[in-house]
Point group: C2
Chain length 227, copies 2
DNA sequence: TAGAATAAGTGAACAGCGTTTATTTTTTGT
DNA sequence: ACAAAAAATAAACGCTGTTCACTTATTCTA
């Protein structure tokens, strides 16, 4: 079960535990999400309108509101589902038993790669409207996919310090700074057209080279230096 | 003269070089920009509508279109003007004769600080719609404020390599990676509420501490290490 | 200075948006 | 079969960016 299912299923009245009615309802809800996912992937949030969505699933626009409180909630569902896939992908990429710094670098690359594969999702995940506020709803944040990603990264960096591979520093600072380094490349590549491509007066290079180089530099910045 | 003046003054017919008419026209145009700037600063692009803008400058909505081709062009004007201020601020901060790495770190801090002082401007500057495409219009990009920022950073990093303070590497990669590192913190702090604040289970710290730490780590990642 | 040309400004409309309300249709439970 | 409840809808509200025909004001020329 995805976090999305928890967060946005706003029951209309007391729904029976599991009835044909409820199964049918879920089916329609999933169809809406699937259509939204399709449109969103191709055209982003701008191309995703309630009216169009209703058209694609053969319902009236108003019907959508029986399944989602509003558009924001629907987009959050897409966003959270993606973030969960991202998290799973990174955790999967980290399952090998290589040296810590190799694992760390690999995570950076996988993170950015996944973001680039779903640019609209990734970009939408970081727009202010759809974020929960930690100080007002800290548990909500901690349990959300992005909150879990943060905690996961913090755990990894803590391990690096424990192993002596990373320079000791306050984790609150280190995690934010490291995350910023990763996020920066992903979001810049997504939101700035041709950021990835070399300019006419620059020698060519492969995107993978930039990812590797960036992962190197970031990791380097946090590495413990023996005197 | 700002780049904004060049880019978006779409003359309606052959305007005389400098007549009372043209001066009056510029005045109105500036009033529009000023009102837009005011609304935009406080409420971002979402709060800035043509109708509201027209209301604030006591014109009809259609009148705005005599001065700007469309809303995008107006926002680009705001964006470019901001980016120019940002660039000037960084260049100013770099005018001291301290060691290279100190200067570099200082630039990072000033960059992020300025972004945080004008969050709506900075965030808007990196939305896909308003960016020119380097490969289709490279000169346009190179002369644009963001293009100049890129070239400025590249020049600075090149200097660092020449001085032997930074590890030699392809400038195309280094500049992108470094920029991503800076941009990441700025945009994350802006777009993710309470990213800057420590979470309830984390020890407190000052924002300035995070900026300094981040600048340290980024610079560290590119530093040349003597064996 | 009168009249034509040009620019500035406007009201009304178009097509789209998210969302709500009252109403109708369908399904469920008795 | 009938009443209660849920699902679905048509129509509207208020908002958006933008365009077009039209009027008003200014500028230039004869």
């Amino acid at each position: 079960m995805t976090a999305a299912d928890d967060i946005d299923s706003h029951d209309t009245g007391p729904a029976p535990a599991d009835s044909p009615a409820e199964r049918r309802r879920r089916k329609i809800r999933d169809a809406i999400i699937e259509a939204a996912e399709r449109v969103f992937s191709n055209e982003g949030e701008a191309g995703l309108s309630i009216r169009r969505l209703a058209d694609e699933v053969d319902y009236s626009p108003a019907a959508i509101y029986k399944y989602f409180r509003n558009k924001d909630e629907l987009v959050i569902a897409l966003k959270d589902a993606f973030f969960e896939r991202l998290l799973a992908k990174i955790a999967g990429a980290d399952n090998c038993d290589r040296p810590f710094l190799d694992r760390l670098r690999n995570c950076v690359v996988v993170y950015v790669q996944t973001a680039l594969e779903h640019p609209n999702h990734y970009a939408a995940a970081f727009l202010t409207t759809s974020q929960s506020r930690p100080d007002e709803d800290y548990d909500g944040f901690r349990l959300s996919p992005s909150g879990q990603a943060y905690q996961w990264l913090r755990g990894m960096l803590e391990e690096g310090m424990r192993l002596g591979d990373l320079a000791p520093a306050p984790l609150a600072l280190t995690t934010r700074s490291f995350w910023a380094g990763i996020h920066g490349l992903a979001i810049l590549a997504i939101q700035m057209p041709n950021f990835l491509q070399p300019f006419p007066d620059e020698p060519t290079y492969k995107t993978a080279d930039l990812l590797d180089y960036h992962a190197d530099c970031i990791a380097n910045g946090f590495v413990r230096r023996e005197k």
